[in-house]
Each structure stands twice: as structure tokens, then as C-alpha cells.
């Protein structure tokens, strides 16, 4: 029973229970050892990376960061279901989804380390950067989806947000358009129970967040957000529907924010530690690992070498990040407009003069 499960409706798609036992037969494409190990590796990398960024933040080597602890299955599930040509419009708790899209560890470190170059993705060139103002990304996503529809491209915009973002007007305006125009867009809501310090029952009067899709006139589905197989399957189906021209889907992925809102937050001020402890029993990594152990012969040394590999990858990325000097101060003028207007040339030159002194 989830404390934040408003209305007690816990109906949601799930393949693995908390212990990693199969509760529903896996779809054929997902009963695949290589794929499952790829998903497990991505979740492990995300969690290890997350811990590393927090450690860097605590030692003053990086800025404020929004941890994905306990919610890795959502980003890994949706990111692995998307095609390369699809487009992700992420919120700020999407370390996993961005990794799956090909945003590098170094780029993510740069972004959280206060450097715009972290959003100049070498991989997914058309993906949006992280959206910090909560909810704006939904309107951008339906704009992207409109462009896909107008150009008759078989592509889908995937937009993410937290439970708190469903309180915003932007969310409803975007749902409304997506439904009215049957746009190729998938809304993935990470319902982790808390909008910083405000629990879901103070944010929403609907029984579920999936219910919000009714306002847009399209399907809303609930999935166990800590079951990566279920997230991958549900988002995959939503992507297929959108790509086939059958319109949008809202996916409510139920999870729990095991960490603070960000490194600048202290959840101990407003959250019962017992509630947090209970949710550790639903850890998405443990669940898939148990299944891999019992169902696919995942061994202790497989686990150890994975952890070593993740640590080495992360250490290399941190070294790469730390070797990148800050941009020249004049860089703040460089991409403001395509061509710097004359009115700003004087300001840039003024900065350059100060630097020479």
C-alpha cells in the first residue's frame, strides 16, 4: 500500500512484484536477457551517477542537483522505449531518461555544474534541455508534436514531469490541445508522491493522475513506476499508438522520491522517515536484480563487475568534466542572438575591457 495512493486505487500495470517475482507474463519482446540486463545496467549507472553527483555537491564541486533516487525505472523505461528520431522534453528529474537518450555523463555534469555547454548535446541534437520552470515543457511538447504532425513525420514527442506539475495550467492547456488534435505526444508523469513538501492529496482531487487525461479526451494509464519492464511496455505501447496517428497517452508512473527534492532541500522537515523506509522495500533496482538472479542466472560476479564498470565510467566522466575550464566570460554574449546586435557589442566590449585590466 502506497501512502500517497490517493483514493486507494492501486490498479496499475506491473510485471514484477517488490521481490522481483513475476506477477504477469512478460511480453515476448521483453523476455529477453540482453534487454533486461541493458535496462538493469542503465538503472545501476543512474543510481551510481546520482550518488556521485550528490557527493560532488556536498564537497562544493557541483551545484544544486535534483536526485532521481528510487525513480530510475521511469527514465530508463521510457528512454529505452523511444526511438532515436523521437524527441524528449525532460523535466529536471530525468538523469536516467537523458542517459538513455545519449546525453553524456559529462554533459549532465556540466549542466548541473553551472555551464550552458551541458545542454549542447552531441547525441540527441533535437531533444530539449531540462525544463526548470515547472510545467512549461508540456506546451513545448505539443508544439513539437504539431510540427511532426504538420510534416507527416512518424515521430513522437515524449514529455516528462512530476506529480506537482499536473497542478499547472500549462499541463491542462497542453492536454487539451493534444487530445483535440490527436497529436503524437506521450505525457509521462513521475508520481513520486511529493511536490517538494506538499503531498499529492493536497495537490489533486482526482483519484489518480491518469484520470487527468479524461480532460484531454485520450487514454490515461497507470503503471508501476518502479517496474522498469512495465514502464518500458506501457510507454512503448503509447509510442506505437502515437506513431500510428492514434493520438496521445498520459502515463502515470507511480514511484516514490527516496531522496530530498534537491540537494538544497531537507525532506526531514516535512516527511515521516518511516514512510521513506517503507518505500525502500519497493526499490526498482533490487526488484529487477532479484528477477535476473532467479530467472536469468545473474551472478554475484556479474553484479560486481557491473558496479566496477559503472564506477569507472563515472570517474572518467568526472575527470573529463573537471578538466573543462569555464567558458570565456564573453560567451554569455555569444549565443544570445544569432548575430550580436550592435546595441550589445558595446556591452560585450566593456566586459572584454574589464577582463584585460
Amino acid at each position: 500500500m502506497d501512502d500517497h495512493d490517493v483514493g486507494g486505487d492501486s490498479a496499475r500495470l506491473r510485471y514484477l512484484d517488490h521481490e522481483g517475482a513475476i506477477v504477469k507474463p512478460l511480453p515476448g519482446a521483453l523476455a529477453n536477457r540482453d534487454l533486461l540486463i541493458r535496462l538493469y545496467r542503465a538503472m545501476t549507472l543512474t543510481r551510481t551517477f546520482d550518488a556521485k553527483i550528490i557527493a560532488l555537491q556536498r564537497t562544493g564541486q557541483i551545484g544544486t542537483y535534483a536526485s532521481t533516487l528510487g525513480q530510475e525505472a521511469i527514465g530508463v523505461g521510457l528512454g529505452s522505449a523511444m526511438r532515436r528520431e523521437d524527441l524528449l522534453l525532460p523535466a529536471y528529474r530525468d538523469t536516467a531518461a537523458q542517459l538513455l537518450r545519449g546525453v553524456t555523463l559529462c554533459e549532465q555534469l556540466l549542466y548541473w555544474g553551472g555551464d550552458e555547454r551541458g545542454s549542447d548535446f552531441a547525441g540527441p541534437r533535437e531533444d530539449f534541455p531540462i525544463c526548470v520552470p515547472v510545467g512549461s515543457q508540456y506546451c513545448h511538447a505539443v508544439g513539437v508534436a504539431t510540427a511532426f504532425q504538420l510534416r507527416h513525420q512518424p515521430r513522437v514527442a515524449v514529455v516528462t514531469g512530476g506529480d506537482g506539475s499536473t497542478s499547472k495550467g500549462d499541463f491542462y492547456e497542453a492536454l487539451n490541445l493534444a487530445g483535440a488534435w490527436r497529436l503524437p505526444v506521450v505525457f509521462v508523469i513521475n508520481n513520486n508522491g511529493w511536490a517538494i513538501s506538499v503531498p499529492l492529496e493536497r495537490q489533486s482531487g482526482t483519484t489518480t493522475l491518469a484520470d487527468k487525461a479524461k480532460a484531454g479526451g485520450f487514454p490515461g494509464v497507470r503503471v508501476d513506476g518502479n517496474d522498469v519492464i512495465a514502464v518500458h511496455a506501457v510507454v512503448g505501447e503509447a509510442l506505437d499508438r502515437a506513431r500510428a496517428g492514434d493520438g496521445p497517452t498520459l502515463v502515470e508512473a507511480l514511484s516514490y522520491r527516496l531522496g530530498d527534492h534537491t540537494t538544497a532541500d531537507d525532506a526531514g522537515r516535512y516527511r515521516d522517515p518511516d514512510e521513506v523506509s517503507r518505500h525502500w522495500a519497493e526499490d526498482p533496482l533490487v526488484r529487477l536484480r532479484n528477477y535476473l538472479v532467479t530467472g536469468h542466472g545473474w551472478r554475484k560476479d556479474d553484479e560486481e563487475s557491473l558496479l566496477e564498470e559503472c564506477s569507472a565510467t563515472i570517474e572518467a566522466a568526472v575527470a573529463e568534466y573537471q578538466a573543462i575550464p569555464p567558458a570565456a566570460p564573453e560567451a554569455m554574449f555569444e549565443h544570445l542572438y544569432e548575430t550580436l546586435p550592435l546595441a550589445l557589442v558595446a556591452q560585450r566590449d566593456d566586459l572584454a575591457r574589464r577582463l584585460r585590466r
Partner: protein
């Protein structure tokens, strides 16, 4: 070449942009079959199809937000906000996203959108339909704020705005949508952005205005010319980025400056122009800079609006005051 109104010139520029560039799309509330409440998009859907010119739900935040998404995909969205009074919910998308997408992705993504809106008073419109809040937008780094003041400049500046690779807020003075006629050549030539236009030469005082106030400025200048006082009238046209050089060059010759805008005075764009003069042209001034503006009051409903808007007489009086300094 034919004579037309400002709103017809807007329509002509939109049609030209649609014809020239397949990436241009026009959308907003009632812009399709209805052709816009001021008919700025009249006939465009019939001519270019509903995939190029289409109505949106009644949702201004969405209109701006979707324009960001479409522009990032390489379309050239030209979105209409029906009245400036309804534009404020778009500011999150303009300020947090459109104006900084290029910068925050180091040029990987850009946002070549145009947000058009009729603005200003003088047509006895209902509440929330008559304000001039252009200075709010001029404060946003990464935006362009463009205001035409005649049919020919509406045509040329709108084409420039649509072709510009960065986001533009394009504010149309609805008071002169149909009040002025001018020859417009539909030759697809854009006017330069970031440029202050000298629309009347003079050597006694520099008079700046934009939008509907430019007509007031010109009327005042013509009136004073009968007494031998020659005002140089500048159409600011692009508020941001502002063309300081043209301002300084003119004031260096005239030594006097009067700024006219219908927006409230405090923090209005006239304050920025006066500050630029104080910083860069103080020693060329022979008299204090004067502003003729709306009051710092809530824009009154229309029975009183003529008392709020700067009049020709007020502009003439301000110019006479600056001339009192030897």
C-alpha cells in the same frame, strides 16, 4: 504598388511570408476562417490551407508555448495574441524559453518565432484592450520588440521579423490599423530591424515616438513647422535592440529631445532613451529631455482614454518648453 491601411499591409506581409517560405505557419485565436478579429489574417486560410493557417484553442499560454516547440523544430511560427491585454500569460514562455533557448543550448536549438498582438488605446475598446506595455518585453534579453507605425513599415518590418532567426514580439498599433493609408510595394523587401527610422528631417528638436504616437508626433511637428520650428521625427520601430547611434547623431545636431509614448511613464521605454542620452549625449543637450507619456495610472475605460493618451497639444507644449532653453 497600391495604397492600403496598416492592417492590410500586415495581411500582405503574412501572405508574402507564407508564399515565400514553406516553414511559415500562422495560428492563434480566430485567425483561420474568421481571418482574425481585426482581419489581419483575412483570406489566408482559404489561400494557403488549414495546415498553414489554423485556429488554436483559446489558450494564450499554450499558443506561446507551442510556438516555442514548433520554432525549435525549424518551423517559422507566427502566432497571434488577440489583444495585448491577454499576452501576459505568455511571458513565461517568452522570457524563460523563447528568448534563452539559443543561449542555453549554445546555439544547438533556436526559436525563430513571431508573436503578434494589437496594442494601445484610442479605439474605445473594452477593459483590458487598450494598454501599452511594450517596456515589459523590452526588458527581456534575447527578444526583439518591434512596433510599426505606418503601412509600409508594417509590411517591411513584419517580413523582417518573420525572417529573423530569433524571437520577435511584434506589436501592432490598432488605433492606426485603418486610420492611415500609404503606398506599399509588395516586392518582398524587408526593412532592417534594430534601426531607428528618420521620418522627418529637422534641426530644432529631436522627437521620438513609435506606434500610434508617431502620427501624434508628426502632427505636432507639422503644426510647429508653420511657425518655423523644425522637429526631426524619429520612428523608433525596434525598441529592442535599440539603435542608439541614430538617436545620438540626431540629438547632437538638435540639442533637444522629446520622447512620446502612450505607455505609463515610470519604467517606460522613454526612460531608457533618456538614460542613454544622459550617459552618451549629455554634453550635446541644450535643454532637459522631456517625456510626454501616459500617466502612471491604470489605463481608464474609454470615456476618459483621450485624457490619458498623449495629445498633439501636449507634444507641442513639451517642444516649446525645451526651446525655452537658449
Amino acid at each position: 504598388m497600391s495604397e492600403m491601411t496598416l492592417v492590410e499591409a500586415v495581411n500582405l506581409a503574412l501572405a508574402r511570408a507564407l508564399a515565400d517560405d514553406p516553414e511559415v505557419v500562422i495560428f492563434g485565436e480566430d485567425v483561420g476562417v474568421n481571418g482574425g478579429v481585426f482581419r489581419a489574417t483575412d483570406g489566408l486560410q482559404a489561400r494557403f490551407g488549414a495546415e498553414r493557417v489554423f485556429d488554436t484553442p483559446l489558450a494564450e499560454t499554450l499558443i506561446a508555448g507551442m510556438a516555442v516547440g514548433m520554432a525549435a523544430q525549424g518551423l517559422r511560427p507566427v502566432a497571434e495574441i488577440q489583444f495585448m491585454g491577454f499576452i501576459y500569460s505568455t511571458i513565461d514562455h517568452l522570457l524563460n524559453h523563447a528568448a534563452r533557448l539559443r543561449n542555453r543550448t549554445r546555439g544547438r536549438l533556436s526559436c525563430p518565432l513571431v508573436l503578434r498582438a494589437p496594442y494601445g488605446g484610442g479605439i474605445h475598446a473594452p477593459e483590458h484592450h487598450s494598454e501599452s506595455t511594450e517596456a515589459l518585453f523590452a526588458h527581456i534579453p534575447g527578444l526583439r520588440v518591434v512596433i510599426p507605425s505606418s503601412p509600409a513599415r508594417a509590411y517591411g518590418l513584419l517580413l523582417a521579423a518573420i525572417r529573423d532567426p530569433d524571437p520577435v514580439v511584434f506589436l501592432e498599433p490598432k488605433r492606426i490599423y485603418r486610420a492611415v493609408r500609404e503606398e506599399v510595394d509588395d516586392d518582398g523587401t524587408a526593412l532592417p530591424l534594430d534601426h531607428v527610422f528618420t521620418v522627418r528631417d529637422g534641426s530644432d528638436v529631436t522627437l521620438l515616438g513609435w506606434g500610434a504616437m508617431l502620427q501624434v508626433a508628426l502632427t505636432a511637428a507639422n503644426q510647429l513647422a508653420e511657425e518655423g520650428i523644425e522637429a526631426e521625427v524619429l520612428d523608433v520601430a525596434t525598441l529592442k535592440p535599440f539603435d542608439t547611434a541614430t538617436l545620438l547623431e540626431s540629438v547632437a545636431r538638435t540639442g533637444r529631445c522629446v520622447i512620446v509614448h502612450e505607455a505609463a511613464q515610470t519604467g517606460g521605454f522613454g526612460a531608457e532613451i533618456a538614460a542613454l542620452l544622459a550617459e552618451h549625449g549629455l554634453l550635446t543637450l541644450l535643454a532637459p529631455v522631456r517625456r510626454v507619456t501616459g500617466y502612471d495610472t491604470v489605463m481608464p475605460l474609454y470615456r476618459l482614454e483621450d485624457h490619458y493618451l498623449p495629445s498633439t497639444a501636449a507634444v507641442v507644449a513639451a517642444i516649446r518648453e525645451t526651446l525655452e532653453y537658449a
